[in-house]
């Protein structure tokens, strides 16, 4: 049987343009982190009182120590590239329902002053032009355009 025959014989029912919006709480610290980016274009970290590890983005509990963290510390808008990829296959972003624009550089970044890493876009799509250890800096959306999301960071760029 041809594929067409199979498709006629076995029906599939589409979910349609389903919309099921959620409203997620960013929490006290997540809100602080995102508002600092939105209002000031700066990054904030949070420091574990036990091991001294500085987390970015903010989280309330240091997993290895299992202690609550409260001390906010400033973290640089610059850092280094840990590892990266160039994403070129097309897919629908479930957050927007639209195709994510490809290709895009995708990177793990260590900001100066932080011990944990951020994951974000890197404004480079030639893998030969990047390597671990390269210096990078955050590029923010224009003031007034920022909404309090990680996408207020447009991307990171190689310095």
């Amino acid at each position: 049987m041809s594929d067409g025959g199979v498709k006629r014989m076995y029906l599939v029912v589409e979910s349609g343009q389903a919309e099921q919006p959620f409203r997620w709480s960013a929490g006290t610290y997540g809100s602080r982190f995102l508002t600092a980016i939105r209002d000031d274009g700066t990054f904030t970290g949070i420091k574990c009182p036990k091991c001294g590890h500085v987390y970015v983005p903010l989280r309330r509990v240091c997993g290895p120590c299992f202690t609550e963290m409260t001390e906010l510390v400033p973290v640089s808008n610059e850092g280094t590239l840990v590892t990266f990829s160039v994403v070129s296959f097309g897919f629908v972003d479930p957050s927007t329902g639209k195709h994510r624009a490809v290709p895009y550089g995708y990177a793990v970044i260590k900001l100066d002053g932080a011990d944990s890493y951020l994951i974000h876009f890197i404004d480079e799509t030639d893998p030969a032009k990047m390597k671990a250890g390269d210096r990078v800096r955050a590029v923010f959306e224009d003031e007034g355009e920022r909404t309090g999301s990680m996408l207020d960071i447009k991307h990171f760029e190689l310095v």
């Binding site: 983005p57 994403v87 070129s88 296959f89 897919f91 957050s95 011990d115 944990s116 999301s149």
Partner: protein
């Protein structure tokens, strides 16, 4: 383990619903163990809801799973779901509360976009806006691996060629093809350095296994495959955390896998896995995993993955064949995938793996990989263990 059932793994099974697919595997497993539904004491089942968009498989599948009127528990842990289901069924039996427990793993990946669904498993604030699913996440690891060891894309392609060639011996596998390294190299990049030929397919399929207590293990037609030991570790909050954990844990590749491996090998008495295991069914979701994870599993030194696989030691006929079934690179119905690793290892221990049998195999390693660098590991043997009993 006394009964094994699996469906043929295909890209799309439009002819069945989820419950009907589950039932195919369950009936095969019960028939294999010469059991009926009424002989089952409890059921453990798992998949990842967001691939089908239908929650609560524990409830709506009872007609087909055989759980109607019986204790049933759902377990879902991402890619490791299938191995977690196996561990859950083992814990049910090992607790002494149940003698015959059915473990079921299944997925119909054809029913949604796999990348989109995987993204929804991750943190909505920090990860989802830029995450590109499993392909993009794994590519970060592959880049790091190549940069730090000098391994090449061709080295990784060797693994994809090996597993898909092995799949020719497995009538249940989805992708069964004889390829060349060159053919893999010519496939397009999905996320540099990972190409189409380096990635697992998306598959519809199900697997079911019957676990029995040692008190009743001789009541079945086939010799049992014995669980010799198991361990699992989960270390992760966000997609970037595995790279942080490498530093925290002293510069290792894959801390969760290395922690689980140490605990498991100590317990079972493994000091030289390449020599001691006769066969391994490993959750290698893409080709580079077949280099890097061999190092975390102690089969070779850090950076030694390419030399190990190119030596032929992991080929059929080598010291420790890896993935005689064709592995995840040949079939990936995600909730079934980990359980298939355990099922394939069990068949090897029973001497019932057909054309993919490793002759005389008596000790096997099965693993699950998932979430963000989580690791489930199980050692199976053809003989009853003499420790941990009673």
């Amino acid at each position: 383990m006394v009964g094994v059932g699996m469906t043929v793994q295909r890209s799309s099974r439009r002819d069945v619903t989820g419950v009907e697919l589950i039932n195919e595997a369950v009936r095969a497993a019960l028939s294999d163990a010469a059991m009926t539904r009424k002989d089952i004491d409890a059921v453990v089942i798992g998949n990842m809801d967001h691939f089908e968009g239908i929650n609560y498989v524990d409830t709506w599948s009872v007609d087909g799973s055989g759980a109607l009127g019986k204790p049933v528990m759902k377990m879902t842990t991402g890619g490791t779901t299938g191995t977690t289901v196996a561990m859950g069924a083992y814990y049910h039996v090992a607790s002494g509360m149940f003698d015959r427990v059915l473990a079921i793993g299944w997925e119909k990946n054809s029913e949604s976009d796999t990348t989109g669904a995987i993204i929804t498993a991750f943190d909505p604030f920090w990860d989802r806006p830029t995450f590109g699913g499993a392909v993009a996440g794994l590519a970060l690891e592959a880049t790091q691996y190549m940069a730090e060891t000098g391994a090449s894309e061709e080295d990784a392609a060797y693994v994809a060629v090996r597993d898909r060639k092995n799949a020719l011996n497995n009538p249940y596998a989805h992708l069964r093809m004889e390829l060349t390294i060159q053919a893999i190299m010519e496939t397009p990049y999905l996320a540099w350095p990972v190409k189409l030929g380096d990635m697992c397919p998306r598959t519809d399929g199900a697997c079911a296994l019957v676990f029995a207590s040692e008190d009743v293990a001789d009541d079945f037609p086939n010799p049992p495959a014995w669980v010799r030991g198991l361990a699992d570790r989960h270390l992760w909050a966000y997609t970037s955390d595995p790279y942080v954990n490498q530093k925290v844990k002293g510069g290792t590749w894959f801390p969760a896998m290395e922690m689980a491996t140490r605990e498991l090998y100590d317990r079972v008495g493994i000091t030289d896995p390449l020599e001691q295991f006769d066969v391994a069914e490993l959750y290698l979701p893409y080709s580079f995993a077949g280099l890097r994870y061999m190092e975390s599993l102690g089969f070779c030194e850090r950076g030694g993955g390419p030399e190990l696989v190119r030596s032929g030691a992991t080929d059929m006929g080598g010291k420790c064949p890896v993935n005689p079934s064709g592995g995840v690179l040949s079939s990936n119905a995600i909730g079934a995938t980990g359980l298939l690793r355990v099922a394939e290892a069990a068949l090897q221990m029973q001497g019932r793996a057909g054309d993919r049998q490793v002759q005389g195999a008596s000790l096997a390693l099965a693993t699950g990989f998932g979430g963000c660098y989580w690791s489930d590991e199980i050692v199976l043997g053809s003989e009853m263990p003499d420790v941990g009993r009673g």
